[in-house]
Symmetry: D2
Subunit: 271 residues, 4 copies
């Protein structure tokens, strides 16, 4: 099959031989039990084994979203699905689709950081100069910067601070994160809002950019983080015995009045 055609496949992820499965080139039998799941997750996605520090950061990334219970649309969708089709895969399949523009999307923040970081690096400007210019540009275009602001926290988001300390401690701190912090500083200055925090979603996305993940992979990692909670909710629903989840009439406003079919059909020329 010629390269790049729809039936020619190229992969570096894993390969199966008679005797073993090779994960990014490493024998699975040697890997499992030797390094933790978080390290293997990093290996599978990034293609290289992490340092112990990167693996520990990875474990925190996997633990970063977890579960918002019935306050999350994906949980509602999953439980609704299994209330009529009592099968784990169906519930997880529906839940996985409930990530996107308005939820579970470090992807957008990650894309913003990765793209502006690459542009700065190509520009030859100083970080502060470039960040100030970018903020002016964004404000003129009335665009928001993802990852800034929080409903409760002012001046400091303790969760971002913890992530920052951890990233430094584990040796995954770097220029991409510093670039994003510079954008944050420039934004605070330009808007004169020193109380506007760089929130946890922003810091996490910056750390993932620094670790080399693509925006789409960040979406995948966010979903992976929610899987244990989803399994728990689907299992709970399956054991609840409730069938046919629905919206009670008391919560629904029906907009369409009853109508007369015969009259309408005549009017439209059916009769």
């Amino acid at each position: 099959m010629p390269k790049g055609t729809p039936s020619h496949w190229v992969t570096g992820v894993s390969e199966i031989s008679e005797s073993d499965i090779f994960i990014r080139g490493y024998a699975m039998n040697e890997l499992v039990g030797t390094v933790p799941f978080s390290a293997i997750t990093y290996l599978l996605i990034r293609g290289e084994l992490p340092t112990p520090g990167q693996a520990r950061m990875m474990d925190v990334i996997l633990s970063s979203i977890l579960d918002y219970g019935l306050q999350k649309s994906g949980t509602v969708a999953a439980r609704a699905v299994v209330s009529v089709n009592p099968v784990m895969t169906a519930g997880l399949g529906a839940a996985v689709l409930a990530a996107g523009e308005y939820a579970l999307s470090p992807e957008d923040t990650g894309r913003f950081i990765a793209e502006t970081f690459a542009k700065w690096q190509a520009s030859g400007k100083s970080k502060e100069e470039a960040a100030t210019a970018l903020v002016s540009e964004l404000r003129a275009a009335k665009k928001r910067v993802p990852g800034f602001g929080h409903q409760v926290f002012r001046y400091v988001d303790p969760r971002s601070q913890r992530l920052k300390a951890l990233a430094k401690e584990q040796g995954v701190w770097g220029e991409a994160i510093e670039w994003y912090e510079a954008v944050h500083k420039a934004f605070q200055d330009a808007t004169n809002k020193p109380e506007l925090v760089l929130n946890d979603v922003g810091m996490l996305a910056a750390i993932m950019v620094q670790m080399g993940f693509t925006p789409q992979e960040m979406c995948g990692l966010a979903l992976l983080s929610t899987m244990p909670g989803l399994i728990a909710h689907v299992s709970e629903e399956l054991q609840s015995g409730v069938r046919n989840r629905l919206i009670p009439d008391s919560h629904v406003e029906y907009e369409t009045p009853r109508r007369d079919l015969a009259g309408e059909l005549t009017k439209l020329g059916w009769r």
Copy 2:
């Protein structure tokens, strides 16, 4: 590729040439506009063009489920999904998974009819004798017969009657349906419940067995019937501007009390 292996594919559904697409052997350009969508649906699934009567019956099958609004779990799942991921495919993907054991499953009824019909035909017994024997057997095993009974209708389900009249009129009436009616009669007699109706789901499944559809195809047709309603609901949700559908706290009973992490970790030997 050798036959029957995971990378050897056999299909009779359609084939693409430079100039046209061949649907079950017929040029698509000739088909579309010549026969209605319901006829092409029958052709694609059954492999043969229907008679005009079969096509009319098919149209009624496609119109048989349609939409139960927010009383259906699939609608709830679809709207929950697009409230965070505002994309038509994601909403339809979730909804399609909400068909199974407790909803949208003419499949089970179809399987019952198809299997018992085949067994009767192989048995050499008279229809009445076989139906009576089957009912005894089912009652001894405390199994229910799918498609019998209704919350409101007694003695006669007007919807089944309409379907029956239509099936006769359109020439799709036959032995499989009569077999199922015989089982119904035997069940009424054995339980002494003449008021127990053969409901519309039962009659529809019997007609689909008669037309040659497999149980899995019936599930597919049921989902196809709900597609217009699902498109309407997803579109309505996308236009509503509501984000992050959730279950309000007033409807949720939280079972787990707050717990002390440090104490528990010590007890379990983490510290």
Copy 3:
């Protein structure tokens, strides 16, 4: 529940009473059998009963995509899924997700037509003047116009011509389609390419804009059109007995060489 909040629902699609289901206000028992599935599809999505002509156009829209067999990624995904999880819903769920940027997306063309049409109508300019200006603008921005061009057809796409004739015949012709034709004419003139056709996808999208469908609804209708073929393929796969569809090694290029775990772990500081 207050309006517009995540647990307050508003719908005009359908409502269930004790005695019947009301589809956009019409009793389902009266609808089914009285008007065809294509008319009910229009009613559910657009909210109003169609004229007989609109219903006939709708039937052609439902028949417009159908099936590309194993040349379509959605078919491959569906059959791969049911080769390990032999369930109709799972196969359809996967297939429905295989519509988007590169396939089954009248959505983009529809969005282009709807948006530029609205802008023209608000502009007060003549159709030709506005179309010429739009084309200049698009060419300056190096943007392509969706729905123009075809691999085989030159000067005329016979399928578009048939759709155009039908739309006129059934009374669904109108200004939105004429606007799109004017853009096509302006594009041919500006590029001096009179052989560049307005293709069938373009004409179909224009007709759907004219009929009042939103771009997202067009994506839904495209998927609906493929459902009979998908049911046929999933059913065929389920009956084939083939398990575990995979890509044969002869079609895969494995990029990662075998690697030494122990050495790498030492180097990275794990040991």
Copy 4:
């Protein structure tokens, strides 16, 4: 809302307050970084914090399946989907559906072990006696026992041995696993096949039964284990630039000959 109805929800998984999210009663801010992802996974699904040993076993369970590359139908489905709809959620959604009867189903083995273990415990018989009776019964009914046998390994499956050693070391060994080993011994004896191994899937399922997971949860955990590989494959596919994955004609056998529409329509009474 009355209990047990479709709009009354009960959950013990997690609860959101103004200040924090409570995971099974524990404050998320205290949990994350204190115990690893594998421990939180156990907590979310089982409802209780694990011991350090249970958490280590959990990490091995999460690492047990990982990735079979393009030899797995789920990978093929995911990559096919994103080749036309280049979105991470869509790819993962399709892949999650590709677990069931013929792949990724520790569920069946888990169900067998859990059900027969419970029956034995209620029986009052000795383990050996009960195991021998069960094997006779299964053989008479010509049922297979899931989790026995391997294509390559004879007498001993080194992977099961490692899992067994680890389970003992981490303190998760127990009666359910011993019951399953007794069934294995009885099966070897009854069939006189001492070379028939208890394979890794069997041992893993037994360990998960011992740890208290339900069969459906095992399916969820198997899928969770494959998520890193799926993210890697979807990302690789998105970066490959290949569009519209399809099955090349050289691999497809088309069964339906070209047919004459006009003649057939006349014959069927359409004309």
